[in-house]
């Protein structure tokens, strides 16, 4: 037996501030975006996934890039790189946005929070160096990017997340979905947002690296909280219909093709003053050539990334993420198909190891979101 797709492993891996805790908890560590990360703990991906949907799961996402934009005009400066409405983001609120290329592709996806006197950014681990260089190159005098390599990030996700943090930070119960608060959890200064990557209610918590293990242990000691690794994080986000940068979106995919048009601010869509506006405008007017869709294969066999999507014998697209949804109880995939095949319920064929597997396009998410609105 041998894995069909082995990740290359050539460079020494970085560790997050929680590496020792992961090992103590019995995690299996794998290389991911240059970091040694826990793919699963002894419970296993299936149990960790289901536990997140039933109670609360704690993820280490410290590999992600964190930074602050400081100075007058920080929001306007960031808008030079994104179609998101950053200037309209109110203090205490967070927003999902895309950095776009001049050609209308997606350079990265980011979370932006308005902390009143500055913006806080969270970007993908695999893109952080490129993102920060791009942002710095676009900044006017008076606006500065402050990288935060000494901060850890953990995500507590699931229907019991709010209950679990309540004794550590009573004010967090009042935070609504995509709200942010600078607060303290059990005496540890933290930047907390009510957000996540699982489709569940929950929090992402940024803390100083040297206190990350203390906070993680405090959260794991709360009833209903179990650690979960990148494996469960991936199956949870796919069930929630959320994109993974580098798989579902990249520099070749446009915001319109990726069905992420909603991330483009209304004002920005009047002014068309963002990188790639020309392509976005053209695709909104005339329709994109292809669209990101959800797919449900028949039966139990998963179709993985790279699987050709066919209409009869004609290739009309490709799977970009695919696997088995533990909460869905069956296989699921996302991919791009030529626009005529993108309508919900379209019958298509997935070519898995040379054999046709019947599938249908379905609306996303596969599993309904349960955010705290």
């Amino acid at each position: 037996m041998a894995a069909q797709d082995q990740p290359p492993q050539d460079q020494p891996l970085q560790e997050t501030p929680l590496a020792a805790l992961h090992r103590a908890l019995g995690a299996r560590m794998v290389p991911f975006a240059g970091y040694a990360m826990p793919v699963q703990y002894p419970d296993g991906i299936m149990a960790e996934h289901l536990h997140c949907r039933a109670a609360a799961a704690l993820f280490d996402v410290s590999h992600m890039g964190q930074a602050e934009l400081v100075g007058d005009g920080a929001a306007a400066a960031l808008e030079r790189l994104t179609p998101a409405d950053v200037q309209g983001l109110k203090p205490g609120r967070q927003r999902y946005g895309l950095l776009t290329t001049m050609a209308g592709g997606i350079f990265d996806d980011v979370m932006v929070a308005n902390l009143g006197d500055r913006l806080h950014l969270v970007v993908n681990a695999s893109r952080k160096e490129e993102d920060f260089a791009l942002i710095e190159a676009a900044l006017p005098a008076g606006v500065r990017l402050r990288r935060l390599p000494d901060r850890a990030l953990v995500a507590l996700q699931g229907p019991k997340a709010a209950e679990a943090v309540a004794p550590l930070a009573p004010d967090l119960g009042a935070l609504s979905f995509l709200g942010v608060a600078e607060t303290a959890l059990g005496g540890i200064p933290a930047l907390v947002s009510r957000s996540g990557y699982t489709g569940e209610d929950g929090f992402e918590i940024s803390i100083p690296a040297e206190r990350a293990e203390e906070l993680a242990r405090a959260l794991l000691a709360r009833p209903g909280v179990r650690p979960a690794g990148l494996g469960a994080r991936d199956s949870l986000r796919l069930e929630a219909g959320l994109c993974l940068y580098g798989s579902d979106i990249d520099e070749t995919t446009s915001p319109v093709e990726a069905a992420l048009t909603w991330t483009i601010g209304k004002r920005r869509r009047m002014a068309w003053d963002f990188p790639g506006a020309e392509r976005v405008r053209e695709e909104l007017a005339n329709g994109a050539r292809r669209l990101r869709v959800g797919l449900r294969p028949e039966g139990r066999q998963p179709a993985r990334a790279g699987t050709p999507i066919q209409d009869g014998d004609t290739v009309v697209g490709e799977v970009t993420s695919g696997g088995f949804g533990p909460s869905l109880g069956g296989p699921m995939a996302m991919g791009y198909v030529a626009r005529p095949h993108a309508a919900d319920g379209t019958a298509l064929t997935l070519l898995v190891r040379g054999r046709p597997l019947p599938a249908r396009t379905v609306p996303l998410p596969f599993v309904p979101h349960r955010y705290a609105r």
Partner: protein
Amino acid sequence: MTELRFTKDHEWVRLEGEVATVGITDHAQNALGDVVFVDLPELGREVAAGEACAVVESVKAASDVYAPVAGRVVETNARLAEDPGLVNREPTGEGWFFRIAPKDPAEVAGLMDAAAYAAFVESQS
């Protein structure tokens, strides 16, 4: 019940008379995690030793399973279609994958015994 033999690709083989039953080892199922689907070879297929002839899918990934010895596939485990978790629960029992009529049953004896396989797994970790 006869003794199990093992491959470096983490398959096990049990030769009983003229038929060799094949599955993946406890070490392999543990490394894979929860098995959600198993793609089995067609009956009657002639396979070479080391030829990929089944696929085991976990939540996370797909892995090839190789024929430990050359021969003809004479039976596949139908229960795995309904209950792929058998591979995790009983990897060397009810979670078997397929049965081969080996060209040369003596080939099985050339594979690792339990002690050699344990040492091999140890050397890989």
